[in-house]
Symmetry: C2
Subunit: 219 residues, 2 copies
Amino acid sequence: MSCPFAQSPRSTPNRIPKRSSSERDSIYEVIDAAPLCHVGFTQQEQPFVIPTLHARSGDTLLFHGSTQSRLLQAIASGRPICCVFTLLDGIVAARSAMHHSMNYRSVVAFGTGRLLEDEALRQQAFRLTTEKLLPGRWETCRQPNEAEAKATAIAALMIEEATLKQRSGGPNDIESDLSGPFWAGVLPIQTVIGKPIPADDLPPGVEIPSRIASLTTSG
Amino acid sequence: MSCPFAQSPRSTPNRIPKRSSSERDSIYEVIDAAPLCHVGFTQQEQPFVIPTLHARSGDTLLFHGSTQSRLLQAIASGRPICCVFTLLDGIVAARSAMHHSMNYRSVVAFGTGRLLEDEALRQQAFRLTTEKLLPGRWETCRQPNEAEAKATAIAALMIEEATLKQRSGGPNDIESDLSGPFWAGVLPIQTVIGKPIPADDLPPGVEIPSRIASLTTSG
C-alpha cells in the first residue's frame, strides 16, 4: 500500500467512511484515468467551477492554457484550489426509489498552485499534457514553437490533501424489499472512443499513427 | 430561440466568445443530458467541489441526499453556488501539440439554493430525481415510505445565470502545418450503457422493465 495523502476536516467525508480512502496509488489511478477535471476556486466569496484538461507529475497537477485564461490565472495565484476527478461506472437500480445510486470513483484534491516558469519544466509539461490527452502523440505531432510556448501558461498545483470516494457493486435494498416484485441491478456505464474522423483538410496518404488508432475502443 | 439566461461578468467567459451562449433551451439540453454535475461552494474562503446527481424542473435544479449531507446543507444554506454540467464529445488531435483540444458541451450555472419543505414539491422532486437517473423507473420501483422521505433532504437551486460553452468539429491547425506529415482528426467519445447486471439476490422470474432494458446502448 502506498503512502496515504494527508487529510484534515476539509478532506474527510462526513458520511459512509467505508467508501473513502486517502491511499495514494488509488488516487493517482483515478486522476490518470479521468479525461478531465473540475477546478474550483473562489473570487470574492463567489465559487467558480471550470472543467479543464489536466496532467499529473507525482503529486503535482499540471494545467495548460492561454496566458489570458481566467482559470490559469486563478490556479497560478496561489489561492486555495479544489480539483475533482470523477469516473462513472454504473447506474444502480434498487427495488426502492430511495436506494437508487451510482457506481463511481471520484477524487477531491486540495492544494495551491503557481505559475511554472522554468523552461525545462514547461517543456516537460507540454509533453505531459499532450500525452495525457493522447498517449503516444507527442512524438507524432509538431512540437511547440517559440511563439506558441510564449502564449501558453502552465499552472502547477501541488496536491496537499486528497480523498478518493467510490461505490461499486449491486443495490443495497432493505430486507423487506428483496422478495418484492421489482427488478434490481446495475447498468454498467463505459466511455468508449469511436472510429477516428480524419480532418477535412488532411492530405491524401497521411496515415493515422498506430498508437492513436489503437485507442479506438472497439479495436 | 428561447429566452436567454441572464449574464454578468461572473458568467461571461473572457475568451473565444463564439464558443459561448446563454440560450436557455440549449442550456437545458446539456443539463438534462449530463448524468451528474459538479457543485462548487465556499466555506471560509475554501472552495469545495462535489460531484452529485441532479434533476431539473424549469430553471430550478434539484438535489437529494441524506439530511446529514454536507453538500445538501451547503446548497440549502443560501450561499452562492456554482454548478457545472460537462459532456465530452471527442478528442481533437491537431498537427501541432498546442492545437490539441476537446470537443465538449459544458454549462456553468450560478444560483442560490434553499431546503424544499413543501411535501407535494418534495414528492415531485423524489420522482424527478429517480426519473432523471433512469427514465421510466418511478412506476417500476417501490416509492418512498414515510421514514425514507423523512431522512431525505431536497435542496432546490434557482438558476440565476448560466452559460453554455461548446466546441465541435475538427482541429484548427495553422496554415503552415496543413501540408505537413502529421495526421489530424477527431476521436469521438461516447458514453454507453452496457448489458444490465441483475442483483445477486434477485428472485427468479423478476424481469427487467422494458424501458430500463431499452437504455442499453447496443440495443
